[in-house]
């Protein structure tokens, strides 16, 4: 047992973990995630895929909202752009899926410059509402340019086969999504530990002070916008592939709110929080139906007519309760329980 944390170099300071135990557990978790898709039944496999896809999006939004402190309601706009970029590239232009995925990142990134530059002057709520406006305008543009996007009819998307490996099966596709989620997680963690990441957090904590210390607000805010929308675009493309059909209706505005809720429930401003929040929010409806079935047949039947509404009510109530009683989110709970585990019976 160690008696304290002693860090003597910068390298140790920014090291993700210095504990061998944590490394072993991480390796086991990775192994479990690789093996699991081969044994899960289709329902749980689709849940796992959705978690991986949503986690990519949440990690992307975390760069913008969690670290840079720019509240964005335009999440779904970037997702839909990514999905359409991929769908048009692969289904209509018949390009390679790898190029499609690249475009799915680059197109939202380019769009984010268009949104980002005007947003540099705006703060807080005005920014949130500008990004909301962006999400609506993107939807409109997609429906308007129906020569390219096929308008309201949508585009059929096939499961890709990348570099000769086919991802047609559910298991293979789940593994692809998990792999991309893992890459995104490592990438964002590395970003956070770099000079750029520190600059972004400095902007969030106090933009004027950051500017005085030599952080170029324009460059770094745009950087956050571009990186985050690149990642969100990829998650949108994966979601489109998962649905196997890309339409504007497939990406309701609720996804933007869900993404913010994930960050809050997980614990805002941490990559781990984005992942935990995703797992929680995606599984919440399943918990809810499990809970309803516990109540017995009579109530279950009485509630079954309004089951969908009850689930989304629960979703709202969970957001409110978390904000009210656990502002640090699931990450906060995790830290508290770790501290309790180490220090018990002492409080600190």
């Amino acid at each position: 047992m160690r008696s304290g944390y002693f860090k003597e170099t910068i390298a140790e300071q920014i090291n993700l973990t210095d504990s061998a135990v944590a490394r072993v557990w991480l390796a086991l978790l990775a192994l479990a995630l690789i093996v699991a898709p081969f044994y899960l039944n289709p329902f749980y496999l689709s849940l796992l895929t959705i978690i991986a896809i949503t986690a990519i999006g949440a990690l992307g939004l975390n760069i913008l909202t969690g670290w840079t402190g720019l509240i964005s309601l335009g999440h779904v706009g970037f997702m839909v752009l990514g999905a359409y970029a991929y769908a048009i590239a692969t289904s209509i232009w018949k390009l390679d899926p790898l190029i499609g995925l690249l475009l799915a990142g680059l197109v939202p990134a380019a769009a984010s410059i268009v949104v980002g530059i005007p947003s540099l002057r705006l703060t807080g709520l005005y920014l949130a509402i500008t990004t909301l406006a962006f999400a609506f305008i993107i939807n409109h543009l997609i429906l308007e340019f129906d020569g390219l996007t096929r308008g309201a009819r949508g585009i059929f998307v096939k499961r890709p086969s990348i570099l000769g490996v086919s991802f047609k099966g559910d298991t293979a596709f789940a593994l692809l999504c998990l792999a991309l989620a893992a890459i995104t997680l490592v990438a964002t963690l590395n970003l956070r530990r770099s000079r750029v990441g520190r600059a972004l957090v400095a902007i969030r904590d106090n933009d004027i002070a950051a500017r005085v210390m030599g952080v170029d607000l324009t460059v770094y805010k745009l950087y956050a916008f571009i990186t985050s929308s690149f990642i969100i675009g990829i998650s949108g493309a994966l979601y489109g592939i998962f649905l196997s059909y890309v339409t504007v209706e497939g990406f309701p505005f609720l996804l933007s709110i869900e993404a913010l809720a994930i960050l809050i429930v997980g614990g805002i401003g941490t990559a781990l929080g984005a992942v935990l929040g995703t797992i929680f929010i995606v599984l919440l409806p399943e918990f809810a139906s499990a809970l309803f079935s516990l109540l017995g047949d009579e109530t279950a039947r009485a509630l079954s007519t309004g089951a969908h509404e009850l689930k989304s009510m629960l979703y709202g109530v969970v957001i409110i309760l978390f904000l009210r009683f656990q502002p640090h989110g699931l990450v906060g709970l995790w830290r508290d329980s770790k501290r309790l585990w180490v220090n018990w019976p002492l409080r600190f």
Partner: protein, 290 residues
């Protein structure tokens, strides 16, 4: 020409509804620094309550209006007391997310408590077609424009002369000093929520009378955002004016360009306006001191 006038009048009438909801946004923002994302849902739920009252006591406008206003008032007070007041001292972002949570809960509880099919709210008046020159308008459309004008005058007088209005402005400009001067910030916040729910509720009921009542009415809240941003989040009267502008622009774009443009023209307008004036047309520029 007649087409233009008809478009303008129906644009101004829908704009008046946006304006009322936008005033609700601004009242809450001005006294608490929050944006209430549940405003459209509150308008919707008040309209549903009004419909329930109207289907039990038929034909009496005053009972329906009175019942709706009382309900909106109590509802606003309840939300403020149960959900918003415990959040005092938390970051603004969290509190705004709480209002989004309220929005989600209300939206699904409407379908749960009532149903998902559209209804028409018939209180006996507001649906007659009047002929003005060559243009044909519904009396309800003129009524809602008049209501917004009355609300503007009322709020102007309230903020300018009433003791409580002055207290609200004091809290808005500096809550700590206001509290030191003996103003109860909590009470100001409660009244702001009640007032904002009442005007949002009036907007919802008017919309239901002129058009119809359906669980997608909460979109009104999203459409009112451009109005309040255009006018400036902290300017109550500016928001009302912003509603007129957005409503007219939207309807003209819908009439002359395309139906899709109608949906997004409001959003395009605010992006352009925010480029020029990042705090809206009538909003106060915030000066940051270090």
């Amino acid at each position: 020409m007649t087409y233009l006038i008809e478009l303008l009048i129906s644009g101004l009438s829908i704009g008046a509804i946006y304006g009322l909801i936008a005033m609700g946004f601004a009242v809450i923002y001005k006294s608490t620094g929050l944006v209430n994302f549940a405003q459209g849902e509150i308008a919707m739920i008040v309209a549903y309550v009004a419909w329930t009252i109207a289907s039990h006591v038929s034909g009496n406008v005053f009972i329906v209006a009175g019942g709706a206003i009382v309900f909106a008032c109590l509802f606003g007070l309840a939300i403020e007391r149960v959900v918003i007041r415990p959040m005092i001292g938390e970051p603004v972002f969290s509190t705004i997310m709480v209002t989004i949570g309220i929005a989600v809960v209300l939206r699904s509880s409407i379908i749960f408590l009532w149903d998902a099919v559209p209804h028409s709210l018939d209180v006996g008046i507001g649906r007659e077609v009047l002929v003005l020159g060559e243009a044909r308008v519904r009396s309800g459309q003129l009524g809602v424009i008049a209501l917004l004008l009355i609300a503007i005058a009322g709020f102007y007088a309230f903020f300018r002369w009433s003791r409580f209005g002055v207290a609200m402005r004091a809290v808005a400009s500096d809550d700590r000093t206001a509290m030191l001067m003996g103003v109860s910030a909590a009470r100001v916040q409660a009244v702001a929520w009640a007032a904002s729910c009442v005007i949002a509720g009036i907007a919802g009921v008017m919309f239901a009378i002129i058009h119809e009542l359906s669980p997608t009415m909460f979109v009104l809240g999203l459409k009112a955002f451009p109005a309040t941003i255009l006018g400036g989040l902290d300017s109550v009267l500016g928001s009302a004016l912003g509603g007129f502008i957005i409503g007219a622009v939207e309807n003209l774009a819908g009439g002359y360009v395309s139906a899709g443009m109608k949906e997004v023209s409001g959003f395009i307008v605010i992006i352009v306006i925010l480029m020029v004036r990042p705090f809206g047309l009538f909003g106060e520029r915030r000066i940051e001191r270090v």
